[in-house]
């Protein structure tokens, strides 16, 4: 399993992401945003952080980095792409995923563990989990308030593209940021591009608070 981790100026979860995937047995390689070549990767990850200082809109400028043309081509050819937090925002700005992010309803930067419910595991990413599973993964964002128009949302449900929702420890919907339907993670129609605001790479070991991130990322290794 060969995982490429794209690094933009301002990305800050690249090393955690590398550590997480190597812990699961992957070979990893950092890809600088100026590169224009993606050789044979099984998965491309856009990690979290603040690419280009979040200027203009989160992910808006990273979208036009040279490497993003390649990422879009890779995704259009069926390659697996995962965007975590700022990576998710970049995938939205690139139109690889539907919708957009706005400021958290509270205006606060939220950084804490949060429970998530698996809504749909009929995809590679969540294939190691069951529908209805409740997992505990850290969130850390100021712009995680997911917005999408009603028609698109309906088609996302129909196509099994809504993957994760924020909830409490009992699985009751609990919305930290104002997202439509408490959505925390989605995929594209072809189920090869995934985006989520929570950070599975920060929940890979019990000594740092939990191992539920392993259950998530393991899906890619099946």
């Amino acid at each position: 399993m060969k995982v490429g981790i794209v690094v933009f100026p301002g990305t800050n979860c690249d090393r955690d992401t590398k550590w997480a995937f190597e812990k699961l047995g992957a070979n990893t390689k950092f890809i600088w945003h100026n590169e224009t070549n993606l050789d044979n990767f099984d998965l491309i990850v856009l990690p979290g952080g603040f690419s280009y200082g979040d200027y203009l809109r989160s992910g808006a400028i990273a979208r036009f980095s040279p490497i993003m043309n390649e990422v879009v081509n890779f995704a259009n050819k069926g390659g697996y792409v995962l965007g975590i937090c700022n990576g998710f925002q970049i995938l939205l700005e690139s139109h690889l995923l539907p919708g957009a992010m706005t400021r958290n309803e509270s205006l606060h930067f939220i950084s804490k563990f949060h429970h998530l419910k698996v809504v749909n595991n009929n995809n590679k990413f969540l294939s190691a989990l069951n529908n209805g599973d409740i997992i505990n993964i850290p969130i850390a964002h100021a712009e995680g308030n997911y917005k999408v128009d009603e028609d698109t949302l309906k088609s996302m449900y129909d196509n099994e593209q809504v993957l994760l929702k924020y909830c409490d420890e009992n699985g009751e919907e609990l919305n930290p940021n104002g997202s439509v339907d408490s959505i925390a993670g989605i995929c594209n129609k072809n189920k090869n591009v995934f985006g989520l605001m929570p950070h599975p790479e920060r929940a890979m070991s019990s000594i740092i608070g939990g191992e539920d991130g392993i259950k998530m990322l393991k899906g890619f290794f099946k």
């Binding site: 939205l92 309803e105 205006l107 104002g178």
Partner: protein, 80 residues
């Protein structure tokens, strides 16, 4: 020529910053304020004397980068 691109959240999209400013204004005694929307203005200097061309270019820039059509509207005005 200087053009301003004004970007705002669309009508139906909740604007938490606007809400926070609204509450602050009400607290300051501006009780006549009923709603506030916060947007951004991007001022661009374009190397042309042709007003229409400047507007057209600025609109292209807004469509491509400056605004996100999923959640934002924009308008363009020539300011100098």
């Amino acid at each position: 020529m200087k053009v301003a691109v004004n970007v705002h959240l669309k009508k139906g999209v909740l604007d938490p910053q606007g809400k926070a400013v609204l509450h602050a204004l009400n607290t300051l005694g501006f009780n006549e304020v009923e709603d506030v929307r916060v947007g951004k203005q991007i001022i661009i200097e374009i190397n042309t004397d042709n007003k229409e061309e400047a507007i057209k270019k600025a609109e292209e820039m807004a469509d491509k980068l400056l605004a996100n059509p999923v959640i934002e509207n924009y308008d363009v005005e020539v300011i100098e």
